[in-house]
Homo-oligomer: 117 residues x 2
């Protein structure tokens, strides 16, 4: 089995990347909007800082998972990011991998105490 070993760093980084790729599924959007949407869609749980988000977008673009195109909205410049085919494959593949890791992690951790509200 080609079971790759778990990498904590990569796992954490991967979560951020998946959140970005996921919100780009429905429609392409610019970085600032991605930050707003991810925060809204997660009810404020997942929140990107600007110093975190933009480097991630550059990384994803460098890896060919998203493609950025400059746009001018009046005098304001935006870089609209769209999911590539590779990005779509990466999203589904890595989501499955995260799911598997989490499942196997939860098997090791203590089951929830079935406590009332």
């Amino acid at each position: 089995m080609g079971e790759k070993e778990f990498d904590v760093q990569g796992f954490a980084r991967g979560i951020h990347e998946l959140l970005v790729l996921s919100t780009l599924q429905a429609e392409k959007k610019h970085g600032y909007q991605i930050g707003i949407d991810v925060e809204a869609e997660s009810d404020g749980l997942f929140c990107f800082r600007h110093g975190t988000l933009y480097p991630i977008l550059h990384r994803l673009e460098g890896d060919g998972l998203v493609r950025g195109a400059w746009s001018r909205d009046g005098g304001r410049r935006k870089k609209i990011y769209a999911l590539t085919a590779a990005g779509r494959r990466h999203l589904t593949g890595e989501t499955g991998r995260v799911q598997e890791i989490v499942t196997r992690l939860m098997r090791l951790l203590p089951p929830p105490t079935e406590a009332p509200a």
Copy 2:
């Protein structure tokens, strides 16, 4: 609601810590054994390097989540770690938090494609 925001770094670090605390539930053991057991229990998925494991143990001990006691087995010295009451609380509490974060993360990511093969 006291909803703390998600912290990727802390989440990744927390996974390592929970794996250590979890394997100490059944019985107290020394660091080297913890590494072996976690790897075995996870079928090789979660594997600690020595340079990662020992600092984690020191951190957990500093936080009062485990208590270490030096032991001599022949001429060989071992530091036996035991879960403290605080460690037990931390384990159940953080496990619940991880479960919740993962649940909310999975709601955002694409559902598994039911199929092919």
